[in-house]
Structure formats: structure tokens, C-alpha cells
Subunit: 241 residues, 2 copies
């Protein structure tokens, strides 16, 4: 029963990755998607029953989620954190520091091949495709930033970045409506983002660490500024999407 594949919510449990990791991913996704609303008390037994696994892997997964800040301990109970705009902004301040450092290090170390790849990701912004094809831009954006981290070659920095990204994905989902970095049709035009990315690229390409750091920081500062403006647009209802 457990060796073969079993229903796991709407998905299957494969026997490849450890069960606790699958459970981790599943719960994380439910938090991000809002199926587990902010403030919701997490009950181990419930999830175990739901996923047709025992409490053990669920318990382990919960420990992991807690360590990463995706769950928080509130009066002895584990809850999905209730997220404020302040938290998102605080996370973006961290990201500013991280991205700045990553760009600095990347500017010092990048090779011809990676530089070319970086340019490719940048180009995605130049093509004036259909306005609604945002997912492609989003992917390019992720690739762009991720490549910079990879080139920076600091595994601890990369880890911090990943933690931040994971948290932001939760927070964003539950606090802001349609307020992603690359999209944002309202205040922040696609061209703004493109120009900021281009500045980062140019600084890295010219191997100018100071300029690279500053460009990356500027980029994030703009995002933060945008977030603060978006304060007005926040939806107070945090349940569901």
C-alpha cells in the first residue's frame, strides 16, 4: 500500500524522494496557494490523514517549515503566519542587501559564457510581445537573478536568497493582488524593470562591482517603493486568493 503509489491529496506519492520532503512540498504549496490560510492552526493528524501517511513524516515536514519561517509557533501551536505588508517590505530590504552583494560578486567573477547567457535573459524584456504573456517574463526574471547568484559563487548567500524567495512567495500571495515584480501594469511599467535590469547587466558586463551593486540595489529600492505605494491597494481579506 505504501510501496506502490498512493493518493496524496490531489497528487501522487512517488517512492523516489523521502516522504517527508514530499509532504514538505505539498504543505508549502498549500500555504503559498492559500489553501491553508494565514492564521490557520496546523494539525498534524489532520494532514497525515489527508495525505494518507503517518504522523512521522508530517511532523518532520512541519519542523522544516518552521525552520524556514513558513510556519510559526504561536502559543505552542503551529500556525500559518499572518503576513503584513511590512513583512514583505522587510524581506525586500534583505533582498536588496543580498542582490546587491550577489551582483557585486558576479561582476568580479563572471565569465564570457555566463555573460552571454545573462544577456539572453535580458533580451526577453526587449521583445514587445503580447502584453499578457507575463509568465515568460517572469521566468526570465527568475533566471536572470538566479544566474547572478550562481555566478557569485557564495553558497551561503544563495541559501539566504532562496529562503527569502520562498517566504516572499507566501507573503505576496496573501497580501497583494497582482503585484509581481515584472508585471505590475499600474505604477511600474515594464520598461522601468527592463531598464533596471539592463543597468545591472551593463555594470556586470563591464566588470564594475560598485556599479553592479548599486544597480541591483536601485532595482530593489524601486520595487520597495512600488510596494509602499501599493499599500493603498492591499486587500485586507487574507483568506483564499
Amino acid at each position: 500500500m505504501q510501496n506502490a503509489e498512493c493518493k496524496l491529496g490531489a497528487f501522487m506519492i512517488s517512492k523516489g524522494p523521502a516522504l517527508r520532503d514530499q509532504v514538505y512540498s505539498h504543505i508549502r504549496d498549500r500555504i503559498v496557494s492559500g489553501t491553508l490560510e494565514p492564521g490557520r492552526v496546523i494539525v498534524e493528524v489532520e494532514l497525515a490523514a489527508e495525505l494518507n501517511v503517518s504522523r512521522t513524516p508530517v511532523s518532520n515536514a512541519l519542523v522544516m517549515l518552521k525552520e524556514r519561517g513558513l510556519l510559526e509557533d504561536d502559543g505552542g501551536k503551529l500556525k500559518v503566519p499572518i503576513l503584513k505588508l511590512e513583512d514583505v517590505i522587510n524581506l525586500y530590504w534583505c533582498r536588496m542587501a543580498h542582490d546587491g552583494l550577489a551582483s557585486r560578486l558576479a561582476a568580479e567573477r563572471i565569465g564570457a559564457k555566463d555573460l552571454k547567457q545573462l544577456e539572453t535573459y535580458l533580451r526577453a524584456w526587449e521583445t514587445p510581445e503580447r502584453e499578457d504573456d507575463l509568465s515568460a517574463l517572469w521566468v526570465s526574471d527568475l533566471n536572470f537573478h538566479h544566474l547572478i547568484y550562481r555566478v557569485a559563487g557564495n553558497r551561503h548567500l544563495l541559501r539566504f536568497s532562496e529562503l527569502t524567495t520562498e517566504l516572499v512567495s507566501v507573503y505576496r500571495r496573501n497580501t497583494i493582488r497582482r503585484m509581481t515584480d515584472p508585471t505590475s501594469g499600474t505604477n511600474r511599467s515594464r520598461n522601468d524593470v527592463r531598464a533596471e535590469h539592463e543597468a545591472i547587466y551593463e555594470a556586470i558586463a563591464s566588470r564594475n562591482p560598485d556599479a553592479a551593486e548599486e544597480a541591483a540595489r536601485f532595482h530593489i529600492r524601486m520595487v520597495i517603493q512600488h510596494l509602499e505605494q501599493a499599500d493603498l491597494v492591499i486587500q485586507p481579506e487574507q483568506v483564499g486568493l
Copy 2:
């Protein structure tokens, strides 16, 4: 047997904090102290027997340690990470970014009371006490930096800082002999550190975020520079203390 207090290695198990947290602390301390040498394979059963607890809380503690980078997964086995100077330096790069941001935010927000407290910690460096009373300086140093983080008021940033500090404490113990930030009788004089701290303090006191960030960054850059010099002094033997 479990309700009362039991032997836990050389210590006692209290019934206050959850067992897994006590086990976590114990193992972390053993990693930091070098009783569990870098490269050592961690075996759950062994630790459980040693601490007179079952495998369950040990397992949970190991998950936590892994999440925080104090253990790493190597070919399906958990090992105490083998640490290179490069890692310490990479961590200090992160710390530069974090401390810089914290100082910036602190400069924007600090109140009179905290400022006064910060000055107190700073003063500890001015008194030319006995040269060997380094622990007092070490404590002042910790307090100084920690207060800045507290004032900064960004809980995510604080968490990143704590993760970094925890990792550095491991790395330092096992790679460098007598190479702490405040001490360092060799290349880096106590006065250097004092001056750098004073610069940070002055910038924060004058509510100058840019200067505060730069002062903090300079401080860490000096530490990194010192670490790189210390490369020559590294002890290759990583086992034991």
C-alpha cells in the same frame, strides 16, 4: 524515568523545553566545540543511546541542524560539514551585507535610550583594561552588534544574522586558531576595532543612514581582509580542537 531528570551525556535533561530542542542544543554545542569533528558521520542511534533518549527527538534535532546548515547531507549520510576558510569568508560577505543594512535601518530609527545603551557598549573598548580580559570585550562586541539589529526592527534580517552567527561559530572553531574579531593580537589591533565601532556609532548617532551602512561595511571588510591574511595561519588539522 523520563519524567524525572536523566543523564544527558554530561548534562541533565530537564522536562522544561521540548526534548528535541535540548538535543538540538547539545549536538550543536558538540559541533561547535569540535567533539563532533568535521567530516564525522552522524549516526542517529549512537546519539540517542548516548543521550538516553529515543531516536525520535534526535531525528527531529537532526532535521533542524540540517536546515540551519550545521549538518549537511552527503551521499545520503548526514555529516558535520568540513569547513574551508572560503566558507568563513563567504559568510562574512553575507554579514557585511546584513550588518550594513542593519546599521542603515538603525540610523533611521534609533531612539535616545537605545543610543545611550549603544554608547555604553562602545565605551567598553575605550577602557584600557587588562589585555587578557578579552571575554568582556567579546560580550560588548556581541551586545553592540545585536542592539543594532534589534533597533533595525527587521525580524527577517535578524534571523539571517543569527543563522550566520551560528554557522560562523562552528567554522571559526574548526578552521582558525584564536582569530576572533575583537581579540586578534596579531594583525589587527584592538584600537582598529574600537575605531571602526566608533565610526558606526557616530554615523548612527548622527542619523546618517548612508554613513552608518558604509561604516558597518568597512568594519566587516577589515575583518575579511584580516581573515585572508590569516590564511597563512590556518591549521589544516580539523579534528578535535
